[in-house]
Structures are given as C-alpha cells and as structure tokens.
C-alpha cells in the first residue's frame, strides 16, 4: 500500500465464483453450470463471472446469484465470502483472481438459465465429479466452512424455509455433516439455545406426514450458538 508509482503492477482479471448449496431430497446439492467452450468444455463448473468496474465482489456475487438461480429476490439469502483463489495457473488463458462466495438456499427451484449459462442445474455434492478449474477445491472448502459454521452459529436456518420443523432443521445438520443425530437430544439442545428458533404460535405442519404433526418454528434473532453444537466424534476425544 505504499508508493504505487514506484511499482510496476500487472492488471488482473477479478471474478467471483459461487458455491450455491441447498438440500434437495435429503441430499446436499450444488448449483453447477456446464461449460460450453474450452478449456474444460463439457465439464461442470461453479457459476460466476467478472466483477464489473463499479462493483464490489460482494455485489457481483449477489448479481451472479440472481442471474444463475433465476430467483427474483436474493436479498435475503445467506451469502458469505469464502476465500480468494489466486494461483497464477488456475486459468490457462489468463491471470484470473477469483473471490469465492458460498450461498445457502432453503428451497430449491430448478434454475432457469437466466443468465448466459449454457446449462445450469442442481447436482448432488457427492459425485459432482471433477469440476473445471480449481472448482473442486473451492467446493470442498465451502463444504468444510459450512460444516464448521453449523457447529457454532445459527447458520442452519439459512437452509430452511421461513417456517420449518425441528426435524427439517435436524436434517440440515445430518445432511451437511453426513452423520445421524439423536432426535430428542437435538431438540433439547436447539430449544435450550435462546434465540436460535422461535415457536410459531398455533402452527403445525400437516402436509401429508405420516406421524404426529410437528410444530413450526422460525429463525430467531441469535447468530451464534453458545455453547456450540458439536458434531459427534470428529477425532479422538480428549481425556
């Protein structure tokens, strides 16, 4: 940051890449676009695009998110900067520095190719195959980040519609972590954390479920979980 004039600097292209995650059919799914040209023609890639001259990366990410998902209103969606990927050879054509973002969606409308994406669709996170560029790495980083943030933040509600049952919330944890959780314990923990969820007064979800109808909850005002909701047995416990 000192003495620009004394430096020669290369101009870089700056892009954003989006790891858009949702839960469909009990599986973690990713929004991907099919590349129509070289390099990596025919391969799936994360949606993204250039940051325009008067945009911040955040603004560009939200614009791309709207274009790729076709959603009218993306202002309420969770969008979070992941990290920046800047290896000199990550794009064979030119020097591209990419700021990656992760977005979480509750429901999952099939994307209409709103932007200029050749073909966009949801694919399961497992078996999304080798992606173009370094997008496998970006996607894995996004998964790691989300899995970790579920432990100590209220992020899980970002995967849920405005009103949801505790079973749906638990499914978020189980799907992202790939583990099963004890339902009564999960329930006790979530309800004991003030501000995580709020009961919707007289509502219950009656939509075709077979068992007892579940009570509905809304996301509460809290953002952090204290104490955290740790995933079971990541490595050897202490003591």
């Amino acid at each position: 940051m000192k003495g620009y004039d004394k430096y020669a600097f290369e101009p870089f292209a700056v892009t954003v890449d989006l790891a858009v995650l949702t839960i469909r059919a009990g599986r973690l799914q990713v929004l991907l676009v099919e590349r129509g040209q070289e390099p990596y023609a025919g391969r799936w890639a994360l949606p993204g695009g250039f940051v325009l001259p008067d945009e911040s990366a955040e603004t560009a990410a939200r614009r791309e998110l709207a274009e790729e998902t076709g959603l009218a209103d993306v202002s309420g969606l969770h969008l979070e900067q992941l990290r920046t990927y800047s290896e000199p050879d990550r794009d064979p054509r030119m020097r591209v520095v990419s700021v990656a973002y992760t977005a979480l969606l509750p429901d999952a409308p099939e994307p209409r190719g709103g932007g200029d994406a050749a073909r966009a669709r949801w694919l399961p996170y497992d078996g999304a195959g080798p992606l173009a560029f370094d997008h496998d790495r970006i996607l894995a980083d996004a998964h790691d980040r989300i899995g970790a943030k579920l432990e100590y933040t209220c992020l899980a509600t970002a995967f849920c519609p405005p009103e949801f049952t505790l079973g749906e919330l638990q499914l978020v944890y189980e799907t992202v972590w790939g583990t099963e959780l004890d339902r009564p314990n999960f329930r006790r923990k979530v309800l004991a954390t003030s501000g995580f969820v709020e009961a919707v007064p007289g509502a219950a979800r009656l939509t075709g479920g077979r068992g007892k109808p579940a009570a509905l909850y809304r996301a509460g005002p809290a953002t952090a979980l204290h104490p955290p909701l740790l995933r079971p047995s990541r490595e050897g416990r202490s003591s």
Copy 2:
C-alpha cells in the same frame, strides 16, 4: 467463468495487506508502516504490496512479510488468508482489490525497514488509531478471526516461541480475548486436550522469574481443539 470473450472486463490492481500480530509486553501489537505520501500521508497503515504477475496472493503475502519484518525465515510462521476487500472506492487513486492475510509471530524483533517501508514498527492493537484506507476494518476482522480461532484450534501456540510455559500460553488467550482466565482450569483444559502441547522432558524455565519455575512445553501435532476452549461469557448463556 464462462465466455470470457463475450465480456468486457476492467483490469484491477491486486494487492495483499498484512495484519501481523504479536504479543509484546503483555499487549497485543500490530506491525504498521507509516505512509509517506498521499493519500493518508503520515497515517499508519498495514504493510502490503502488489501481487506480482507470477505470484499467488499467498506467495506475495509471505514475501511482503519477510520484507517488512526483516526476518530471515518466515516459512514457519502462521500465515492465513483473512478475506478480500474490494469496495470500488477503497483506494481513491484506482481500483484496487486487496487480499488480506493475518500472520502471527512469537517473539517480536523490532522491524528493520527492510523493504521500502518508510517506517515500520509495532504498535499496540488498542490505540493503533485510525489507519489509512479500510485498514481499521481489516485489522478488526483479523482480531475477530484470531480470537474465534483460539477457541477451537491450537492457533495460540503460533504466538509462542518453540518452547513455552503454560503461563505464556495462557497469556496469549488473555491478551487476545481481553479477559482473565483461571490458571488451574486453563492448565487442566490444555493438558487434557491430547496433541495440543507436549512436555519438554526435563526442562524448566529459570529465566529470572520470581516464583516456582514453570515446565516447558512444545506445540503438539493437533490442530483442532475438541471440545473447544470457549471464552467466558460472550453473551448470555443458554438455559
């Protein structure tokens, strides 16, 4: 990432900014350089510089770290990407996208102006005053990140020399968090976390301390803390 040729894109300058933190005299301190020219002439700023054409941002950050600190070997230091700042008006001269990194140092040699930094020195984190550009924000983000990572990673050892006492390790937590911790409890917790620290067989620190000499420890192979070491009373506890 699709159809570069169909897009016009603006070239951006890409820089790295470094929030280099250490603990000196029981206080959290930051490495800052004094700006010699407009804008923000005379103000303190985070060290940093342009990413060169054949470098990744990580490589550039490590190069700048070596230049600014004057340390011969920075390969062992903890260097971690923080996030990227890309507001269009963050530098009044031109469009600059900056990838911010946080580095942690154990001891703190006074920086010799190795690079072209007009004047570089350690300043206390509190009272580092308003910095140039958006560097106050970057520095605050770095502090938040480090404070959070102390809870669930073994990062604290990055602030310590190769061999350290548990008292020194506790001082890291207390300094970054700005809280006091109970010494026996901290000790019990750290020693119960396998892989956090390893005892150095027959060593004790005798350097002028007044009380009982403390045993020495090394950083262990673990990187994560399970269960985490939560800082006291951030907000209202649950239940």
